[in-house]
């Protein structure tokens, strides 16, 4: 394996070695769980065992995991069509997620939401959203409610580079700034709006979009979970302390297509580019190298973690495949509360 290429220096988190050890091991575990979950989803799709499509998060794990590691269980997140990573990182369990993706009754949304709408109130996930940028208002509103009720909960709004095209984002960033709301806008720049490179759709520098509203901004290498964690830690602490919103730009990459069916990709991105990110910029490899170099975990320790995750994923998918569909009569339940 080659040397870690950190594109931006990692901030030191000044935590005690033992604590730091456990923290990054646990992040490795989370990232592996997401990675293996996604591989299984892709397999379910390819073997025609999953209804519809799914947008895989593989390659971007460090963003969700690094950010969510700074959050409390009662903090909020909103997520996107590419939402499995956020959901798992915030604490959801693998089996019920698979069940949701298969439209089964024990799914987080009783099969009504599916991949694009997974929500889990218990872990503060207010839901994935299939409208690009559509949850910017919800996240900001959750932060507004937190502040209004004198709570110290923070809300994190995950979205892609493509969501910078949606006017709603600017409307709510303005209010977040005006009212110092505890919301963090996390922009996952994976270079593409679907099949179009973001530079063809996005004028100016990305962080300026938030700075224009007087919002504190930061940018990190989204493949380096330690960098993401350190940056998010600061922004979340700020927000929780009453210092208002922030915007965090994370440079990242999706290893698969826009969705599981997006197989022919060479017309919009090269095989070389994909190879580069997969071999040089894989967040799992990068963290693994660091863990080894620091003497925190050797390859066999990591393999052990991977085995655990593999077992969890296997059990989870079996649970979901065996689970019943919802009763037909549920179709018109939950339209109204």
């Amino acid at each position: 394996m080659t040397q870690v290429q950190a594109s931006r220096p990692t901030r030191k988190s000044h935590s005690a070695p033992a604590e730091e050890r456990e923290r990054f091991l646990s992040m490795y575990r989370q990232m592996v769980r997401i990675r293996l979950f996604e591989e299984q989803v892709n397999d379910l799709y390819k073997t025609a065992r999953m209804p519809g499509l799914a947008h895989l998060y593989s390659g971007e794990e460090a963003v969700a995991v690094g950010v969510c590691a700074t959050l409390r269980r009662d903090d909020y997140i909103t997520s996107t069509h590419r939402g499995h990573g956020h959901c798992l990182a915030k604490g959801a369990s693998i089996d019920r997620m698979f069940a949701e993706l298969l439209g089964k009754a024990p799914g987080y949304c009783r099969g009504k939401g599916g991949s694009m709408h997974i929500a889990d109130q218990d872990t503060g996930n207010l839901g994935a959203n299939a409208i690009v940028g559509g949850s910017a208002g919800i996240a900001t509103g959750a932060a507004f409610a937190s502040k209004m009720r004198g709570q110290d909960r923070v809300a994190v709004c995950f979205f892609g580079d493509g969501a910078l095209g949606q006017g709603l984002l600017y409307e709510v960033m303005n209010m977040a700034s005006l009212w110092k709301l505890p919301v963090i806008y996390v922009c996952e720049n994976n270079l593409y709006n679907e099949y179009t490179h973001y530079t063809e759709t996005t004028a100016g520098a990305l962080t300026e979009r938030a700075k224009a509203f007087g919002i504190h901004t930061d940018a990190v290498d989204g493949q380096d979970v330690r960098a993401v964690y350190a940056a998010a830690r600061q922004l979340v602490d700020r927000a929780r302390g009453g210092d208002g919103p922030a915007f965090l730009l994370c440079d990242t990459y999706r290893f698969y297509g826009h969705h599981v069916g997006d197989i022919q990709r060479t017309y919009y991105r090269s095989k070389e580019e994909e190879e580069h990110w997969k071999t040089q910029r894989d967040p799992l490899i990068l963290l693994g190298q660091w863990l080894s170099a620091e003497g925190i975990a050797g390859e066999s320790d990591l393999e052990h973690l991977r085995d655990e995750a593999r077992a969890e994923v296997e059990a989870g998918v079996r649970f979901a495949l065996d689970a019943p569909f919802p009763e037909l009569s549920e179709v018109d339940q939950h339209v109204y509360a």
């Binding site: 109130q121 559509g134 900001t140 509103g141 409610a145 937190s146 209004m148 709510v172 939950h334």
Partner: protein, 344 residues
């Protein structure tokens, strides 16, 4: 008119209520003030809602009582404030979002129809959105095409939303209080031409359930189903018709959803003739739904086709001579009723 006593009893209240005359604006303000007092999770957000009390002065005085933390002036960001409302509602608040003109619904339809309306269902019943969006409808204010529309058909179409259209101060207060306490998103339409309309409102607290039509006037020869401001138009038309010996029953559904189909159908079955009057554009508007429901439900009792009168299918023109032609009036409703009763 059975309104005050009939619905008061629904809240279990007995004894003679103290009834004042309030304007529709006052009734709405009172409903909001009472709910703001009762429940600290209620707040109001909108453009110029605080010191200005909205351009229609409906909210005057609220910021003085409840402070700028709960009566919140926002930027001119309709989608944004609705989005914030959805998120706040999902996390424990009961926001009342003020959308100054119903014409601006076009800016918030995604937040209303794709977010607010669907969160509860998509989450398998886990999350809920107790949000109220207050907005206006109604023409003839010489405000031209972008400030005069009655777009309640759009939201009435969307499962997950409830829709109220009060026609009297009494109904406005009772329905709004219910809407605020409802655990679902409710869009509440106020006719801006009716804010000064007066009517009896009891001192005592009361609520009106969503989904219960009100027979504003009993009659035997023809049913006039009317919404919002058109109820007042229908009542004048009913007076006209009475002088001609035609007894018209005026039925106000009060909410587009839930829709009290039974009352509408029963009235049409009784009278055997029905007209539906509404201020939204006629085509693909709510008159279509109401007429279709009656035509199907009362099919075997009807002596004539159900007739519809909506706003004319044109953008609302500015010029008064043109604008006045676009909405149903007591005269045109009377005329149509006469024709339908074979008396034209």
């Amino acid at each position: 008119m059975s309104t005050p006593s009939a619905t008061l009893s629904q809240t279990g209240h007995t004894g003679a209520p103290t009834v004042r005359e309030l304007t529709l604006a006052q009734a709405i303000r009172e409903a909001l003030a009472e709910e703001l007092r009762r429940d600290p999770t209620v707040y109001i957000m909108g453009e110029d809602v605080a010191e200005a009390g909205t351009p229609f002065k409906v909210l005057s005085g609220l910021v003085e009582e409840f402070g700028p933390q709960r009566i919140i002036d926002s930027p001119i960001s309709e989608a944004g404030i609705t989005g914030l409302g959805v998120g706040a509602a999902m996390t424990g608040m009961r926001p009342v979002v003020d959308i100054m003109f119903g014409d601006f619904l076009g800016l918030i339809m995604d937040q209303l129809a794709n977010q607010a309306a669907k969160v509860h269902y998509m989450s398998g019943g886990k999350l809920k959105v107790p949000l109220v969006v207050r907005t206006t409808l109604g023409a003839t204010r010489r405000s031209a095409a972008q400030h005069s529309q009655s777009l309640h058909a759009w939201v009435s179409h969307i499962p997950g939303l409830k829709v109220a259209l009060p026609s009297t101060p009494y109904d406005a207060k009772g329905l709004l209080k219910t809407a605020i306490r409802d655990d679902n998103p409710v869009v509440f339409f106020e006719d801006k031409m009716m804010y000064q309309l007066k009517g009896p409102v009891p001192e005592e607290e009361y609520t009106i359930p969503l989904g219960v039509a009100d027979v504003k006037r009993a009659g035997t020869d023809i049913t006039i189903v009317a919404t919002s401001s058109m109820v007042q138009v229908a009542l004048v038309a009913a007076d006209n018709l009475e002088r001609l010996g035609i007894s018209a029953e005026v039925v106000d559904p009060r909410t587009m959803f839930p829709l009290d189909k039974e009352t509408l159908i029963a009235s049409a079955q009784k009278t055997s003739r029905a007209i539906v009057v509404d201020e939204g554009y006629e085509r693909y508007g709510v008159t279509a739904e109401l007429a279709a429901v009656i035509a199907e439900g009362a099919f075997y009792s009807l002596d004539a086709p159900v007739k519809r009168m909506g706003a004319m299918d044109v953008p609302v023109p500015f010029s008064p001579v043109l604008e006045d032609q676009t909405v149903p009036t007591p005269a045109t409703v009377t005329e149509l009723a006469k024709t339908l009763c074979g008396r034209a």
